[in-house]
């Protein structure tokens, strides 16, 4: 029953977070400017603007609008787009599969490369390999994503002609965006694995394992690495959340029809309801992933469950 209580507390916390993000989304979109002028163009008369405002309900007091918005959010109603009149939620959900594909492959690549590289660097702390890995991960985290994407396109699509430069298609269309998107998560996962593992390797239980005559491989992989992966799980979850709710740059560079490119359109059009919907959706995704991570965390490490 402990686990049920744990999950319930996490979900409750998630709703609170969602409330604050929805509030933030509301405030930011009201501060961003008047959408009616944008919609009607500069030649619109004052009467037309007033009429449209009344039609959209933007003439009512802020508090009323806010209460209505929050109410709708909690009923799962994210409004309709000002431009297409489509339901925002279904417009977003339509884009999710494309983003999900990119995000999950990028995180998978990050895990498959990041964890072994980080573990290897920790075991050979201070070696040449460790230094090279650490420089590479700093570079991967500091290079602007759009630049990395453009360079990959330049080399592999335009010069070598090996891979397509974007758009959805078969697996070859996925390579460049996934690699670009994976750069930061890979580097973060590698750095964190290395950091956690170096400190775990100095723990007394590792020395104790050697003193009992356990083989090095066993000490490193089944004791040290297993204990180092807990914090890494969190970072994997967070990275996934970031990528899923908007890999904006990568989707723009590779003309990928995901949530990120929808967000770009929405902002360009000052489509306030859609921007709000995207912010709330992003927050909900994040909260959801966090809850999942927390539950996984609680499952693999009973010590955490006990503390709640």
């Amino acid at each position: 029953m402990k686990l049920a209580r744990f999950v319930a507390l996490k979900i409750l916390g998630g709703f609170v977070t969602l409330f604050f993000s929805a509030t933030l989304a509301f405030i930011v979109s009201r501060v961003a400017g008047d959408p009616t002028i944008q919609m009607l163009g500069l030649s619109a008369t004052a009467d037309q603007i007033v009429e449209l405002k009344a039609q959209l309900g933007y003439d009512r007091p802020m508090l009323t609008q806010y209460a209505e918005f929050i109410g709708h959010v909690y009923r799962g109603d994210l409004g309709v787009s000002l431009f297409t009149n489509d339901n925002n939620l279904s417009a977003i959900l339509e884009r999710v599969p494309a983003s999900l594909q990119l995000a999950s492959l990028a995180v998978l690549l990050g895990v498959l490369i990041g964890i072994p590289v980080g573990a290897f660097a920790a075991i050979r702390e201070g070696s040449m390999a460790d230094r090279v890995a650490s420089i590479l991960s700093i570079v991967a985290q500091s290079v602007p994503i759009f630049w990395l994407g453009l360079m990959l396109v330049l080399v592999f699509s335009l010069n070598l002609g090996w891979l397509p430069a974007g758009f959805i298609g078969d697996w070859r269309n996925l390579v460049l965006p996934v690699v670009t998107l994976a750069a930061i998560p890979t580097a973060r996962i590698a750095r964190l694995t290395r950091a956690t593992m170096t400190s775990i390797l100095e723990e007394p239980f590792v020395r104790a394992a050697f003193a009992r005559g356990l083989p090095r491989r066993r000490v490193v992989y089944s004791h040290a690495l297993r204990n180092s992966l807990l914090p890494v799980v969190t970072v994997i979850g967070l990275q996934f959340g970031i990528l899923l709710s908007g890999a904006i740059t990568v989707e723009l560079v590779f003309a990928w029809p995901g949530v990120g490119s929808l967000a770009t359109q929405a902002v360009m059009n000052r489509d306030l309801p859609l921007v709000q919907a995207l912010v709330v959706f992003g927050a909900a995704t994040f909260v959801g992933i966090n809850i999942v991570v927390d539950i996984i965390y609680g499952l693999i490490d009973p010590r955490i469950r006990e503390k709640t």
């Binding site: 723990e203 007394p204 239980f205 020395r207 104790a208 394992a209 050697f210 003193a211 009992r212 005559g213 356990l214 083989p215 066993r218 004791h223 297993r226 204990n227 693999i300 490490d301 009973p302 010590r303 006990e306």
Partner: protein, 264 residues
């Protein structure tokens, strides 16, 4: 008598880097120690005196700069790979904090099984349940992870794990310092019992003179990497010859040091 631990002229030097300057620090400075089969020898001294460094060297996991360490017939510095790992079965160690010397995510029973698995040619005469019973623990402990047991229970698990393959030498580094007095007493009784039952030789490292006096056949006093005085614990603490030993005796907590020791 058969010598189980024979350390001769051991020197351990650590180098630390301070900027571009390298500084050498002699943690162990020409130390020789002999421990016979079935003997319990106490090693006392302040923190930083080199006790733990000596203990680690004795069980083949510490640094050895020069000199020789022969434990249970093995010269660890001459051994590599599988032979070295197998030799560890003869010389086991119990660490100061049992909570951090057990893998936090490994069930107690799995830890015992793992040890059988890596030393397949050493057989324990007991099942895991019997092992628990021997140290006065309930068998359900086997299914728990270290954070679900108390400090005293964890230390008994550590001792079980260190003794289950019937080593010839046990090195215990401050095994009772984190435990309260009753539990400490039980742990000490356990050490004595293993000596009687299995002829185990024990190097018992402690800063607690009262405990050493209660448990050990012989005591060594260590200071700045050297052994400054040794002998029968009672004689040593009643009539300390070296000034440092006198200070250690005087540093025993309590109103009157002598009283504190003799009341134990």
């Amino acid at each position: 008598m058969q010598q189980i631990l024979s350390i001769s002229n051991l020197i351990v030097v650590f180098t630390t880097r301070r900027g571009i300057r390298r500084e050498a620090f002699r943690a162990i400075d020409d130390v020789s120690v002999q421990i016979a089969a079935g003997e319990i020898v106490g090693l006392v001294g302040e923190s930083g005196s080199g006790k733990t460094t000596l203990a680690l060297a004795a069980c083949g996991v510490g640094k050895v700069t020069s000199g020789s360490v022969r434990a249970a017939g093995h010269e660890f510095s001459q051994l590599r790979g599988a032979a070295r790992r197998a030799a560890h079965a003869d010389v086991q160690m119990v660490f100061q904090d049992p909570m951090v010397s057990l893998d936090p995510r490994q069930r107690i029973g799995d830890g015992l099984d793992e040890l059988r698995q890596v030393h397949p040619n050493r057989t324990s005469r007991f099942t895991n349940e019997q092992l628990m019973e021997r140290v006065g623990l309930a068998p359900d402990i086997l299914r728990r992870i270290p954070s679900q047991v108390s400090g005293g229970q964890a230390q008994r698990v550590s001792i079980t794990r260190a003794t289950m393959l019937q080593p010839k030498l046990l090195v215990a580094d401050e095994p009772t310092s984190g435990l309260d007095a009753t539990v400490q007493d039980q742990i000490l009784r356990l050490f004595r019992w293993f000596r009687e039952a299995e002829g185990l030789a024990i190097l018992f490292v402690s800063h607690n003179l009262a405990v050493v006096r209660q448990l050990c056949d012989r005591a060594l006093v260590m200071r700045q990497g050297k052994i400054v005085e040794q002998g029968d614990p009672d004689a040593l603490f009643e009539n300390p010859i070296h000034e440092y030993t006198r200070q250690l005796v005087g540093a025993v907590p309590g109103k009157h040091a002598r009283l504190a020791i003799s009341s134990q």
